[in-house]
Symmetry: C2
Subunit: 397 residues, 2 copies
């Protein structure tokens, strides 16, 4: 039997890409983990979740364990709706879809909008999982660079106008993480946000706004693109992964009813009643505003510690953006091949993610690394950056 | 903005099908629910799950709440592997993929094998969710009828030979529920199973074996197609929905390493660590064999009660297959339009699923209904069938 012969042409093409999760480094157990985009262990509400499950099952018995039935499924959606409302994005029930995390949301959006002829624009660098997802659908991915103020919308405008002049296919959507960007930690300015929305209207494309980190500002949280969008062009993706726990797999899409209906059409893992009802119970018992405040305080502190250690231990020519929220610091190490650096670093007991995985053209990422200050404690962050500094210095020699 | 203009051609075509879940009837709260393919409430291990979560989070803290990290994720896979082994389907780790229930497994399989030019064969009638899934990918679905011995493989052979003679596209796969079929409750004979595998080899197609009910035999459980397959042509889909709880969304695919790799490539809801680790903990504490025995005893008893009530309350000309396992009785009501019957029935306080949803050509299902004996208690089953008998008799007049 020729197994490959059963795959349609487009699937065969997708299987030629780099394998999913190729970027996950092999890290020894004792190493200091600066690669993971994980919340800090003590900020994950394990015991509260234990209590939520006990309460849920005592009150509802088998209900949340069937396909449908638990009233808390609706309550979770209601919570999301009211959260969107608080943040200036009022939504009707028909404009929301709960998903298994932001990744499923992005995949479903790709599924209804992309085929091999579709064109997508992404930021450069961008979230590697999203890149993997889009590459499963189309080879026609365009990139627009990021600077300290987020996506360079002037360059986006040039690209759009150039394609228009040449009669090339217009992009279906722009994928952006405007706030506390992964991997760069940058935040798009208000002027650029307005520019993005203006361009979307002018060149008739959609905007996929990934807001996974949007409520994790150290001081305040900028207004989302969705909240500034009067035309219905923004597909907003939210997530509880970074503010509650990724292992619960709760995310959502907020967009027009027409688009939500199409997403629902293709969402064939059905609902996740147990996870959704558990999350609803947890949220009932959570003062979310004060939770966000303590997360923000804790992550700001950890970020500060990392930035000071970077100043102290990295060579003069290293540089980084100073984040105002989120989980990450994006560091440029001129003259270093960061992929090679990784094996030295893990041997020395510290991990990071090489920049290459965040670029469509991976060579562009050779001198960059993504560091997460989210997971490790302050002491380990300092130790880890010290170790990193040592291996960088020996690689420079 | 013209929202539809953003959908690619194939997506537009899929959106022309009947909406997903259209078959879910609106049932008043007090009605006796004979439509749901739900396990009986007292057979869902709610309290055991509560304890499993408590144990898991006390032992592992935040581990099962990150993307990866809980050792129990591997243990769940190990449990599935050993279960496949016990049932004569030894699998390597690389030949298994855990999914969010059987539906996601079927959707992923459709995703890697089907495009608009692909041909699929399904049983007639078949599982409505699977039909919905396949219709999202291709309009080229062929049907082969079922009788009391399962899929009529002679008719499958004729169809295959005819297509070959005419030079038509061969099917990519046959979708079958050989054991305790949904909706008919029938089981394919060993001879027909062997015939299916022979045909798959001769006409070079794959077999998607949906075994969601396969361990719910009243007496014994027939050997799976996968266990008889020496050529690697069977993609086996298993599920814990019917034997533990659907709300946990745990299923799996067992097939060749090449196919598993491709499925993994497109599985973009990521893992569900909390649900998977919870299930692993529950299974550690469960004597699964004795659990299956009590399920089998309970469902056999409920089925018997339903069959006796059908004899007593339905008109002479009604007929049904006698199931040897599973959740369903498939009833033919000659001269009745069962879709119209449903509103009378729910008014009278009993629900069922009209046969039409299980057929590609829905008119073929007009005289059939699917009844579930799984969910309601014995007393309600009798009352429900009595009510059903009454509305059938008044519809005959």
């Amino acid at each position: 039997m020729n197994m490959e012969s059963f795959f349609p042409k487009d699937i065969k093409a997708a299987l030629q890409n780099n394998p999913p999760g190729e970027w996950i480094p092999s890290v020894p157990a004792h190493a200091i983990r600066l690669h993971s985009g994980y919340p800090a262990p003590h900020l994950v509400p394990s015991m509260e979740l234990k209590e939520a499950v006990a309460q849920l099952l005592e009150e509802e018995n088998d209900l949340p364990l069937h396909y449908i039935g638990s009233p808390r499924i609706d309550k979770l959606k209601e919570w999301v709706r009211s959260r969107q409302d608080v943040r200036g994005m009022p939504a009707k029930d028909e404009e929301l879809l709960i998903t298994a995390g932001a990744c499923q949301a992005i995949d479903l959006i790709a599924r209804i909008f992309l085929d091999k002829d579709a064109v997508v624009v992404v930021e450069s660098p961008t979230y590697m999982e999203a890149l993997e997802i889009f590459q499963n659908y189309t080879g026609r991915i365009l990139t627009v660079p990021i600077d300290k103020d987020g996506l360079q919308t002037e360059k986006l405008a040039e690209l759009l106008e150039e394609r228009k002049q040449k009669g090339l296919t217009k992009p279906t959507f722009l994928y952006t993480i405007p706030t506390f960007h992964n991997p760069t930690g940058t935040t798009m300015t208000v002027e650029r946000r307005m520019h993005v929305l203006k361009l979307a209207e002018e060149y008739d494309f959609l905007v996929l706004e990934d807001d996974a980190y949007g409520e994790l500002g150290f001081n305040d949280n900028p207004k989302t693109l969705k909240s500034m969008d009067s035309k219905g062009r923004v597909l907003y993706v939210g997530s509880l992964s970074k503010v509650i726990a990724p292992g619960m797999r709760i995310g959502w899409v907020h967009t027009t009813e027409t688009f939500i209906q199409a997403l629902f059409w293709f969402k064939k893992d059905l609902e996740h009643p147990f996870a959704q009802a558990t999350m609803a119970t947890l949220l009932e018992n959570t003062d979310f505003t004060s939770r966000l405040q303590s997360l923000s305080g804790a992550y700001q502190q950890k970020c500060q510690v990392m930035l000071e250690a970077l100043e102290k231990y990295l060579p003069e020519n290293a540089s980084w953006f100073v984040p105002e929220g989120g989980y990450f610091v994006w560091v440029k190490l001129p003259g270093i091949d960061t992929e090679k650096l990784l094996s030295n670093a893990t041997e020395a007991g510290v991990s990071f993610l090489p920049g290459k995985y965040f670029f469509l053209d991976q060579t562009e990422g050779a001198e960059y690394i993504r560091l997460s200050f989210s997971y490790e404690g302050e002491e380990n962050i300092v130790k880890g950056i010290e170790k990193l500094g040592n291996v960088v210095h020996s690689n420079l020699k």
